[in-house]
C-alpha cells in the first residue's frame, strides 16, 4: 500500500477537496488499515488545533498608509521622468563652481597686487639709486637685495647691472658687484660682470669682480681671467688677482 498516496488523500479530505466517491473509498481503506486510521486521527487533531488559532485581521490604517506611500512614489517617478526637477539636499556643483571662480579672482588679484608692488618697489629702487648720497645708494642696494628674500627677477638684476656700469661712486659700484656675486648662477649676471671688467676704471672694483668670477668656474670665466692676466693695461694688482683666481680654480680642477 502506498501510504503517501493515502496521506495526500487524507489531507485533501481535510481540506474538503475530495468528491464523495473518493471520500468513501478513503474511509474504507482507513477502516481496513491501522496505520491509516492513526494518520487520519492525527490529521483530524492537527486541523482542529489550527482551527483553534485566533485569526488577526490586518489594520486597515496600515493598508491605507501603504497605498498612500505607493501613490507618492508613483507620483515621484512620474515627476523625475516628466516636467519635474531633481532637487539635491546640498548643491555641491554650484558651490564648487563659485569656489573655483573665487580662487581664480583671488589668484589674479594677488598676481596683480604683486606686480603692482614689484613695479612700485622697482620704481622706488630706481629713484633711490638716483639720490646724491652714495651711502644712501649703498643702503638701497643692501636692503632691497637681501638674500633672505629669495630669488629676484630680471628687472631687479638690470637695475643692479645699470648701477655697476654707470654709478659715479666706486663704493656704490663695489656694493653692486658684491650683491651681484650672490646671483652667479644666472648667466646674465656672469655676462655683466665679465663685460664690466673692460669698462671699470677702479682697480678695487675690478678686484671684487675678479673675486666674484672666481666663485664660479667655467670656460668662459677662465678665459676672461686669462685675458686679464695677459692684458698689461690692467693694474698689476688686478692682474695678480686674476692670476690668483686662476690658480684657485686650477686647484679645484685637480
Amino acid at each position: 500500500m502506498n501510504i503517501s498516496h493515502w496521506e495526500d488523500k487524507i489531507i485533501a479530505a481535510m481540506e474538503g477537496d475530495l468528491i464523495q466517491s473518493e471520500k468513501d473509498e478513503l474511509m474504507l481503506q482507513i477502516s481496513r488499515d491501522k496505520d491509516l486510521t492513526d494518520m487520519w486521527e492525527n490529521y483530524q487533531q492537527l486541523y482542529s488545533d489550527i482551527d483553534l488559532v485566533p485569526i488577526d485581521k490586518p489594520n486597515l490604517a496600515v493598508k491605507h498608509n501603504f497605498i498612500k506611500w505607493l501613490n507618492a512614489e508613483a507620483e515621484g517617478l512620474k515627476n523625475q521622468t516628466g516636467e519635474g526637477k531633481v532637487v539635491r539636499l546640498f548643491p555641491w556643483g554650484k558651490w564648487a563652481s563659485v569656489a573655483a571662480i573665487f580662487v581664480c579672482v583671488l589668484g589674479f588679484w594677488q598676481m596683480y597686487n604683486q606686480n603692482q608692488q614689484l613695479g612700485s618697489s622697482l620704481a622706488n629702487l630706481e629713484s633711490l639709486m638716483q639720490v646724491q648720497s652714495p651711502t644712501e645708494r649703498i643702503k638701497a642696494i643692501r636692503v632691497n637685495y637681501n638674500q633672505d628674500q629669495g630669488d629676484i627677477d630680471s628687472e631687479m638684476i638690470d637695475v643692479l647691472v645699470n648701477v655697476l656700469f654707470t654709478d659715479q661712486s666706486s663704493n656704490v659700484r663695489l656694493a653692486a658687484v658684491e650683491t651681484l656675486s650672490n646671483y652667479m648662477d644666472r648667466s646674465e649676471v656672469r655676462m655683466a660682470l665679465i663685460k664690466s671688467i673692460a669698462t671699470e676704471k677702479d682697480g678695487g672694483v675690478k678686484l671684487a669682480i675678479i673675486d666674484s668670477l672666481g666663485k664660479n668656474q667655467n670656460d668662459e670665466i677662465k678665459n676672461t681671467l686669462e685675458n686679464i692676466v695677459n692684458d698689461d693695461s690692467h693694474e698689476k694688482y688686478v692682474i695678480d688677482g686674476a692670476h690668483m683666481q686662476l690658480i684657485r680654480l686650477d686647484n679645484v680642477d685637480m
Partner: protein, 285 residues
C-alpha cells in the same frame, strides 16, 4: 629839498650796487685768503674757502688729515719746511697739464663750483708735510687717491658723510659717526666710532689688509661681516641671523660670513676684508 632827496637816492643806489657786488663775489667764493705764519723751521701756510654745506672732493692729495669743526670755512693748512723749499722755483708758478692753478701756494689747487669744492694735488713732489683740512660739520667729504705716494688718510671728529676710495693708503677714522663708505685695496682700515648715525649706511672694505672697527656699546645696526680668506674676531654680542663658514671650497682657509643685528638692529653696517681678518670691538679699545 629836491636836491637832498636826489643825494639820498644816489647814496642808496651806490649802497645797493656795492652790496650786490659783494654778495655776488661771496656767491662765487672769491672771498678766499692765503695766510702764512713763518717760524725758524719753516712756514705754516693756510688757504680758506667759505663753505658750510655741499661736498668737498679731495683728489690725490698725499698724506691728508681731515678734521671736522664748527666753522664756516674749509681751511687747508700745511707746514712747509725751509729745507724743502725749491728756491729755484721762487717767483714762478706751478704749471699743470690740467690747466689747474696752485692757488694755495703749497701745490694744491682748490676750486669751487656750486655746492662742490675740489682740492687736487698738482705735484707729486709736493714740498709739504701732511695737509690738514678743517671741514665744517655740514660739509660731506669725498677722498680719492690712487698713487703709491704717502701712507695714510686720517679722518677725525667728522659726523657728516665720508666717502673714501684709495688704492694704497691706510685709512684711519677717529671719533666718527658715519654715514660712510670706505674702500682701500692695499691699505688697512681702522675706525673708531664715537656714536653711530642711523642715516645712510656704513661700509668698510679692504681687499688685502685688515679692517678694525670699534663701536659704542649702544650702537644699533644690521651688521654684515665678511672675511672670505681670513677670520673674524669680535666681543660684540651679535644676534646672528645668518652665518656661514667654509664658504671657499677652493681654499684652505675656512672663511667667515656673518649677518646679524646689534641692539635690535639699525643702520646697514658692512665690514669686509677680502683677504685678511676683521676685528669688531664693542664698547671701547
Amino acid at each position: 629839498m629836491k636836491t637832498t632827496i636826489m643825494k639820498y637816492l644816489i647814496k642808496l643806489s651806490l649802497f645797493v650796487l656795492v652790496f650786490g657786488i659783494t654778495s655776488q663775489m661771496n656767491g662765487q667764493n672769491i672771498n678766499r685768503t692765503v695766510s702764512k705764519v713763518t717760524s725758524a723751521k719753516g712756514s705754516l701756510k693756510e688757504y680758506k674757502i667759505p663753505m658750510t654745506t655741499g661736498t668737498l672732493n679731495i683728489v690725490d692729495v698725499n698724506e691728508v688729515r681731515v678734521e671736522g669743526y664748527s666753522g664756516t670755512e674749509v681751511v687747508f693748512s700745511t707746514m712747509v719746511e725751509n729745507s724743502e723749499r725749491n728756491e729755484r722755483a721762487a717767483g714762478l708758478k706751478l704749471v699743470n697739464s690740467l690747466g689747474l692753478e696752485d692757488n694755495t701756494g703749497f701745490g694744491i689747487s682748490v676750486s669751487k663750483e656750486g655746492n662742490t669744492a675740489t682740492a687736487r694735488q698738482l705735484s707729486d713732489n709736493c714740498s709739504c708735510n701732511e695737509i690738514t683740512i678743517k671741514v665744517p660739520k655740514g660739509v660731506n667729504i669725498s677722498i680719492t687717491h690712487r698713487t703709491h705716494d704717502a701712507e695714510g688718510i686720517l679722518i677725525q671728529n667728522v659726523s657728516s658723510e665720508v666717502e673714501i676710495s684709495t688704492t694704497y693708503h691706510n685709512v684711519k677714522l677717529e671719533n666718527v659717526t658715519g654715514p660712510m663708505a670706505i674702500k682701500t685695496v692695499h691699505g688697512s682700515i681702522d675706525a673708531k666710532f664715537s656714536s653711530l648715525s642711523q642715516n645712510g649706511s656704513v661700509s668698510l672694505y679692504s681687499a688685502h689688509d685688515f679692517v678694525d672697527v670699534t663701536i659704542p656699546t649702544n650702537a644699533k645696526m644690521n651688521v654684515s661681516i665678511e672675511a672670505p680668506y681670513g677670520d673674524v674676531y669680535s666681543n660684540a654680542e651679535i644676534n646672528i641671523t645668518k652665518k656661514s663658514t667654509a664658504k671657499n671650497t677652493n681654499s684652505c682657509y675656512s672663511g667667515s660670513s656673518i649677518d646679524g643685528t646689534l641692539n635690535g638692529g639699525g643702520v646697514e653696517f658692512s665690514i669686509k676684508s677680502a683677504h685678511d681678518d676683521v676685528y669688531l670691538r664693542q664698547g671701547g679699545e
